[in-house]
């Protein structure tokens, strides 16, 4: 279980995340939503030890992530950030194989190869596994990076805006795979999302941030309604029900 206790991060004098405490529920998708600059990505980076918090702590199984051995933590928690520009030329398969580094330290065992193979199949990358990443479209590349995280086989998967720059088809594809990871493999997914409707349709829990503070935290049903959304986004957002999904129709909203 991941517990976040009183996390604060300041850049200069400006607090980006201030005194955030929450618990990530296991075996579910939790979405972080909120306006630009709310501190969603910073919070996710602190949870995954990419950046240090000024105060507060993140506990994984009741132990501070900073006192975990980095290589052990890499077997429990994985993080994928939004920009994935690489300086090296790698094939899809080579990239996915890197996901096994925490276990193999660079020398893949047959068992590692199996995980890599499975991850590649899971993300439908079999046909392009020998292609170089710079030959791929944005969507394919994003899938390759997610396959790496799947090969890493961690209980917790943290994703920072994985749908950035993806078209509708690929966005849906990736969200469905995340759903499968939770439902079939029992993973815990934490995801920063910009598109509130993807959050509404696919997540179990939503954490809404605003000005570095948690303003709403609860099951998706409790957050996706006009009153709660007004508080988060300062905007009138009508919610319509369609085939059992709650869709926010904000495109022509009056504030």
């Amino acid at each position: 279980m991941i517990e976040i206790k009183g996390l604060t991060k300041k850049y200069g004098n400006k607090p980006v995340v201030s005194d955030v405490s929450l618990t990530i529920r296991p075996h579910a998708i939790t979405s972080f939503i909120g306006p630009n600059g709310a501190g969603k990505s910073t919070l996710l980076s602190m949870v995954s030890r990419l950046i240090d918090a000024d105060t507060g702590e993140v506990l994984l199984d009741n132990k501070n992530v900073k006192s975990w051995k980095s290589s052990e933590l890499a077997k429990r928690v994985s993080i994928l950030k939004q920009s994935n520009f690489l300086n090296v030329r790698l094939t899809v398969r080579e990239l996915v194989s890197f996901g096994r580094y925490p276990y193999s330290k660079g020398r893949l065992t047959p068992e590692d190869e199996q995980y890599v193979e499975k991850a590649i199949e899971y993300m439908n990358l079999k046909e392009i596994e020998d292609k170089y990443l710079d030959q791929l479209s944005g969507g394919q590349r994003q899938r390759a990076f997610i396959a790496m995280v799947i090969a890493q086989d961690t209980d917790y998967i943290l994703l920072d805006e994985p749908l950035n720059n993806l078209d509708m088809k690929h966005s849906v594809q990736i969200m469905k795979i995340l759903r499968q990871l939770v439902d079939e493999l029992g993973k815990t997914v934490v995801i920063v999302l910009h598109d509130i409707n993807f959050a509404s349709v696919y997540s179990d829990y939503i954490v809404a941030l605003k000005n570095g503070k948690v303003v709403k935290n609860g099951p998706t049903d409790e957050i996706i309604n006009s009153e709660a959304l007004r508080e988060i986004y300062d905007m009138n957002i009508p919610v319509q029900e369609q085939n059992g999904c709650r869709i926010c129709v904000y495109f022509n909203s009056h504030t």
């Binding site: 990419l50 890499a74 077997k75 520009f85 300086n87 090296v88 790698l90 660079g106 995280v149």
Partner: protein, 318 residues
């Protein structure tokens, strides 16, 4: 992977041919005199070649930049400072110059101390981005360079000529004992550095991905910086400033091997260094008969290669 091993073997064979050619070509009369001397130069070239290949490749990995060399940290400038100060205050006939051990150890100690001071006190890897360190190194290096040229203007012209001798890379004035000491330092660094190679492979995915995969990235950066400073300092103290060609051999290796594996990249760059240095030295001694220097030849050939690379890349992009 297999084709890369073939390529490495081919490069190694070319390297050996260069060494044999250099060792045996035109060796009239005093074989017993000339051959050991030539082999000692070859030894120095192999040692410095690998030192520069290693430090340049790993430095470029942690800075995520393929047109930088570790000389940006100002380590070479520190060498110039030490030698100039020695000539300025003690003179060319003092023990600091005449005794090569003393000169070697002083220069080596000053360069390593400078690098460590820079990393430990001014810069903390976990607090600031690496570009700040590079900028600091560059500014301090430039500052040292300018102060030194001021001192050089004041030095007696005859003294200055013999100082200049030390400030150009040369393989012809090496003492065998120094080569021995340098080889031991470099061997230890290589053994320590070997354990970092897999971590460096992961580091080429960028800081965030590397941390995700369990690499202690900030510590790795520190280790790599210290290690490559020791390598640069040792090779500079041995033969003079020669980091310039690290850029060429590292990029040749990236281009030729097209892999992310540092074991292959570094070995390849090292072999390219040996070919360039030994082949270049052969040209200097036997074709140009010492009318030019090794750095001129390497920069000339390397420059042509870079223009070729630029033209090719721009055509591919267009």
């Amino acid at each position: 992977m297999r084709s890369n091993i073939v390529k490495l073997i081919v490069l190694a064979i070319i390297g050996i041919i260069c060494i044999l050619l250099y060792g045996f070509y035109d060796i009239k009369g005093g074989f017993d005199y000339a051959f050991p001397r030539r082999m000692m130069r070859v030894g120095a070239m192999v040692v410095t070649g690998f030192a520069i290949a290693y430090s340049t490749v790993v430095f470029q990995t942690i800075t995520h930049n393929r047109i930088l060399t570790p000389s940006i940290m100002g380590i070479d400038s520190m060498y110039e400072v030490v030698q100039t100060l020695i000539f300025f205050f003690a003179g060319s006939s003092s023990i600091w110059v005449v005794n090569q051990y003393l000169n070697f150890t002083t220069a080596l100690a000053a360069m390593i101390l400078f690098a460590l001071l820079l990393y430990r006190t001014i810069f903390r890897a976990d607090k600031y981005p690496i570009y700040l360190l590079l900028l600091m190194g560059m500014i301090i290096g430039t500052f040292l360079g300018s102060s030194v040229s001021f001192l050089q203007v004041l030095i007696d012209p005859v003294e200055y000529l013999s100082l200049q001798n030390l400030l150009f890379a040369s393989f012809t004035r090496i003492k065998v004992e120094l080569l021995f000491i340098a080889s031991i330092i470099l061997l230890i660094s290589f053994i320590l550095g070997y354990k970092l190679l897999h971590q460096l492979d992961v580091a080429s995915l960028g800081r965030e991905n590397a941390i995700n995969l369990g690499v202690n990235y900030d510590r790795l950066v520190m280790q790599v910086l210290v290690l490559s400073s020791v390598l640069i300092a040792t090779s500079t103290a041995l033969v003079g400033p020669i980091t310039f060609f690290g850029l060429i051999v590292a990029n040749l290796s990236y281009h030729f091997f097209a892999t992310y594996r540092h074991s292959v990249l570094i070995l390849g760059a090292g072999l390219f260094s040996v070919i360039a240095l030994v082949g270049g030295q052969f040209l200097v001694e036997h074709v140009f008969e010492f009318n030019t220097t090794l750095s001129v030849i390497i920069n000339f050939v390397g420059g042509i290669y870079f223009i070729y690379l630029l033209l090719k890349e721009s055509r591919a992009a267009g």
